[in-house]
């Protein structure tokens, strides 16, 4: 067809588009992979580097790094020569731990996973145990299918028993592997819990545990980070939630970890708590009962995003609970921290803070009163005015909830703090849900004004702030509910002479 022909010619006249496209895609793919690698890299702990270097040095002294083909690996791993087994396992581990092309699938296809799992229990050969554990960890770090290959090789019980290995680096590598398996989803998480992973894991944290071969304190922190991360994965994911009794076992340890001074440990334990609070009120209650809320509130004020984000998330979850649970958060001092978070500057933080505030504003009028007393209205109005749109939406909810549950006096206080102008401005938003919430809020305001006999004044105020024209304009809105709500306000309050 002529026009097609024409388009081709246009393209050919320009840069060689096809060639460029191909290139761009390639670059993208490669960079995205590199990015993913780096992201994971971020989670690396220092201890292992130290350990790696020691081990590598040691090993390099013993034997040169030997390059083996996949065939040679299969043969050696399946053979009976312990020396060759170690070499081949190490070569496998090395392939799996290089930045580019870790060849996970190729190695799975060799069918050596069951053998590697066997090596895990060779207590007489710790280097072999360690190499196999590392290799399996990296296989389990991949896709769900890849993780499944490790689980189906019956690695779970082997790793769990290795948690109690007298060799710290082996025990730590097992923690890591189990973390990867737990991170795959609720199915394997619960499989691990059923296999009783929790007691030996917690034992590693308990001060009573004899710590063998402890090279340095740094090492301990790294180990602890890995344990914390694995614990957080055991608390993670819904549908279903982790079993309650497992949660109850882990919580006291998490509460201890959250008081640690290492920010990575704090961060991961906060994330764990945030997972545990992301559920029904009885799950929230278990966390509230530990008395951890004051610490979480303290961490919300941390200058480290790494720490502040999960702490805010956890507290935000708690205030979705009952009035009593929300009151516990208020008593822990959440209202004193929120103003600075509402003005944080990072949109995601401001949004989360506004979300938490909106849930507190949904409480009884005593809680609303506390909210006023703690000076939350000015930052709320500011956010409504100048925040990122997602944060503004949460702020709108906060205002809406406030006008629903607040007393007439409290609503007056809200209007006095200048909420109307930014609220009315947001009527220009594209999102009809937000518009509806605002219109409801305006109706609530009028209801309060009526009680005070101040309808006239509110009308004037709305008009002065160009709110009337915006509400009028909404009568032509596509969304039927918006149109009705706008019409309703106009008819009720602005249709007089």
């Amino acid at each position: 067809n002529k026009s097609d022909e024409r388009m081709k010619k246009f393209k050919n006249k320009g840069k060689d588009a096809a060639a460029l496209r191909r290139r761009r895609v390639e670059v993208n793919v490669e960079l995205r992979k590199a990015k993913k690698d780096e992201q994971i890299l971020k989670r690396r702990s220092i201890s292992f580097r130290l350990l790696d270097e020691n081990l590598n040095e040691e090993r390099e002294k013993r034997n040169e790094i030997i390059q083996l083909s996949l065939e040679e690996i299969v043969e050696a791993v399946n053979g009976n020569n312990a020396e060759l087994q170690l070499q081949a396992t190490q070569a496998t581990r090395r392939m799996l731990s290089r930045q580019k092309d870790p060849l996970i699938n190729e190695i799975i296809e060799l069918g050596i996973i069951p053998r590697l799992v066997e090596f895990l229990i060779h207590a007489d050969n710790p280097p072999l145990q360690f190499e196999a554990a590392w290799a399996l960890t990296n296989i389990a770090s991949g896709t769900s299918d890849q993780t499944r290959a490790v689980v189906e090789g019956n690695a779970i019980p082997a790793f769990i028993s290795l948690l109690s290995s007298p060799h710290m680096h082996i025990s730590e590598q097992s923690v890591w592997a189990l973390g990867n398996i737990a991170g795959d989803g609720p199915l394997y998480r619960d499989a691990l819990i059923k296999c009783n992973v929790i007691p030996p894991l917690l034992a590693l944290v308990s001060p009573a545990t004899p710590v063998n071969n402890l090279p340095s304190l740094v090492f301990q922190v790294g180990f602890l980070r890995n344990i914390t991360w694995t614990l957080s994965n055991l608390c993670r994911n819904k549908n279903p939630y982790p079993p309650l009794d497992a949660v109850k076992k882990m919580l006291p340890v998490l509460i201890r970890l959250i008081k640690h001074e290492d920010k990575d440990i704090i961060s991961d334990s906060c994330w764990a708590v945030s997972y545990l609070t992301d559920g029904s009120n009885d799950r929230i209650q278990i966390v509230v009962d530990t008395g951890i809320l004051p610490r979480l509130v303290e961490l919300m004020a941390s200058p480290e995003l790494l720490v502040m984000t999960p702490a805010l998330r956890a507290i935000g979850n708690v205030v979705t609970g009952t009035d009593e649970q929300t009151q516990a958060a208020i008593d822990a001092g959440v209202l004193a921290v929120l103003p600075s978070l509402l003005r944080h500057g990072k949109p995601t933080i401001e949004k989360e803070a506004a979300w938490a505030l909106s849930n507190i504003a949904a409480g009884p009028s005593q809680q609303i009163q506390q909210l006023i007393m703690c000076g939350l209205l000015p930052p709320l109005v500011e956010l409504l005015d100048k925040g990122d749109f997602k944060a503004q939406k949460e702020a709108v909810w906060a205002v809406a909830n406030f006008t629903m549950g607040g007393t007439v006096e409290q609503v007056v206080e809200l209007v006095r703090s200048g909420v109307l102008k930014p609220l009315l401005n947001l009527l220009l938003a594209k999102d009809s849900k937000t518009i509806l919430v605002i219109l409801d809020t305006i109706s609530n305001l009028f209801r309060a004004a009526e009680k005070l006999g101040e309808t006239e004044r509110l009308c004037l105020l709305v008009e002065e702030l160009d709110g009337l024209e915006k509400i009028e304009a909404l009568q032509t809105h596509d969304n039927n509910m918006v149109y009705k709500a706008a019409l309703n306000i106009i008819e009720k309050y602005f249709s007089g002479e």
């Binding site: 320009g14 990015k35 780096e38 989670r43 731990s97 930045q99 991360w229 995003l305």
Partner: protein
């Protein structure tokens, strides 16, 4: 198939763009493509036009605008909007070059655009973000982690590499974006397209010629580039016009014929008097220094040397004695040579409409440009644009003649202004560049609030100044020129042009320099013109702006 939808044509206000537009219109007509034409004189109009039409159109063709900025950034189009950009402005913005979905550039294959390699200037942005945030971000922990070997060293290496890469990128982009210049005429690119599609017609070829000649008249391309492109067009001319040579009687009233010529570099002389043309052509006027009494004397000596009576040269060229005209070209060239004007003859093309009307390509350029910047009637710019566009159609001789008259006025105005600037020493050396500012109240100052006229004036003035000054250093300087723009708003229009040297590569650094000077002084400037070296500036900010420019370039 895609072109079954209406296309929006956004066309800049320069003669080359008009010519490209004419060619494209003819192509659209022959393929029954529906389009809407919107003239745009600057970025603001381009943006407005886009915003107004973005809901009705998915396909936008941009002619002589859009290549040198990040279009997606400026216009924020939806993902299903596509831009075809045919623009001689260089350097092309790198994002436009490497966007292969929404932006299609029409560039001649052999145009050397020297774009930096993709890998040198782009990295996955998400990657960058992740990386810079990695120290302190608050994202959820990863669900699974692979354990690497010896990664810490690699990480620091990576970071160092990234820093080095970043520095190199800055350097590469700086080099790439430092100079503004022009690539192949858009009309020629469009003609090429027509040719490849075997839909090229003689009219289109003529428009391509006019487009190229516009680049030459406006001094946008090097002599080399001009000659090369003339050569390319010459082949097309002989392909299209050969049969007329032996079929004399095929010449009818409405036939047109294009011919290659070595013609005089005298503006509009065939429609003027030889004398007027000599006086108002930049080349002759500057070489003879016509602003001085001696210069006038030299002109008369030159005419005497040619053996042309004053009475004859002052008449309309058409009415000159045929006997004089016979060897006129050779005579003039020979005498001019003696007066140091070695380049009075240039390669160009002319067009014959029927028996009577003959125009050289530069005639058309002057006429069309003048119609476009006509200030005689207070009419919207669109009207001028449409008139100028119409004057390019072969049936519109009255418009063309009207344009020629305007062009004469324009050239006279330029010449007079040049003379008065030189005689009153208005061109001042500021150190790194020459500067000349036209006062409000100067005759014809209104004409010079228009970019094309102001640029022509600047180029003529610089040529003349270089001939008039004895200061060797000054001969090598670029020129910045300012003229009142809008008295009520208190704005001036300012243009910077490269030095006037034999070997000039016509590359202009003022675009970037203006930008930096404005940034560093918070001057209220408007970079509205598609040429970055033309800006609008608040009168009060002029001195601090100039100070910054001087220190920047010193």
């Amino acid at each position: 198939l895609l072109f079954l939808q209406r296309v929006l044509l956004l066309v800049a206000s320069d003669v080359d763009a008009l010519c490209a537009c004419k060619i494209l219109q003819a192509l659209f007509q022959c393929d029954h493509v529906q389009y809407t034409l919107v003239p745009v004189s600057g970025w603001q109009e381009l943006e407005t036009a886009f915003l107004e039409h973005k809901d009705q159109f998915k396909y936008f063709v941009l002619i002589n605008c859009g290549a040198n900025v990040d279009l997606l950034e400026i216009l924020q189009p939806e993902e299903d909007t596509f831009f075809f950009v045919c623009d001689s402005h260089r350097p092309i913005n790198v994002v436009n070059v490497y966007n292969d979905t929404q932006i299609k550039l029409l560039v001649k294959q052999d145009d050397d655009i020297n774009v930096p390699a993709y890998d040198d200037i782009f990295r996955d942005e998400e990657d960058e973000e992740e990386d810079s945030e990695k120290e302190s971000d608050g994202s959820e922990p990863s669900e699974k982690r692979r354990r690497f070997e010896g990664d810490v060293i690699e990480r620091t290496m990576k970071r160092r590499q990234r820093r080095e890469w970043e520095a190199r990128r800055q350097e590469i982009l700086f080099d790439y974006e430092q100079y503004e210049y022009h690539g192949t005429s858009s009309a020629m690119v469009m003609f090429d397209l027509a040719w490849i599609m075997s839909k090229d017609l003689n009219d289109m070829l003529w428009w391509a010629i006019v487009g190229l000649t516009d680049q030459w008249v406006q001094d946008k391309i090097t002599q080399m580039k001009y000659v090369t492109d003339i050569g390319i067009l010459q082949r097309h001319v002989s392909r299209h016009n050969h049969r007329n040579e032996d079929e004399e009687n095929s010449l009818s009233i409405d036939c047109m014929r294009i011919a290659f010529e070595y013609d005089l570099r005298l503006a509009l002389y065939q429609h003027w008097s030889l004398y007027e043309s000599l006086c108002n052509t930049s080349y002759t006027s500057a070489s003879l220094k016509l602003w001085s009494v001696q210069g006038q004397k030299r002109l008369h000596e030159l005419l005497a040397d040619m053996g042309l009576p004053l009475k004859q040269v002052r008449q309309k060229f058409n009415s000159m004695d045929m006997s004089l005209k016979e060897n006129l070209l050779e005579m003039i060239e020979e005498s001019a040579n003696k007066f140091g004007m070695k380049d009075l003859r240039v390669q160009t093309f002319s067009i014959h409409f029927g028996f009577k009307n003959k125009f050289s390509a530069s005639d058309i350029v002057y006429a069309t440009a003048s119609l476009m910047e006509n200030i005689e009637k207070e009419e919207p710019e669109t009207t001028n644009f449409i008139k100028a566009l119409d004057s390019l159609s072969r049936g519109n001789l009255d418009k063309l003649h009207q344009g020629l008259e305007l062009a004469k006025k324009q050239l006279r105005a330029i010449q007079q202004t040049v003379a008065s600037c030189i005689c009153t020493n208005l061109v001042i050396s500021q150190g790194p560049f020459l500067y000349c500012s036209l006062m409000e109240g100067t005759p014809d100052v209104k004409l010079f609030s228009k970019p094309v006229s102001l640029c022509l004036l600047s180029k003529y003035l610089l040529k003349s100044f270089v001939c008039s000054t004895k200061n060797k250093r000054c001969k090598l300087l670029p020129l910045v020129m300012a003229a009142p723009m809008d008295v009520e708003q208190g704005t001036v229009i300012m243009v910077g042009i490269p030095p006037e040297t034999e070997s000039s590569d016509k590359k202009n650094f003022f675009g970037r320099a203006f930008e930096k000077a404005a940034d560093s002084t918070n001057s209220r400037t408007l970079h509205n013109h598609f040429d970055m070296s033309i800006i609008e500036l608040k009168m009060e900010d002029r001195s601090k702006f100039l100070d910054a420019l001087i220190s920047l370039l010193s």
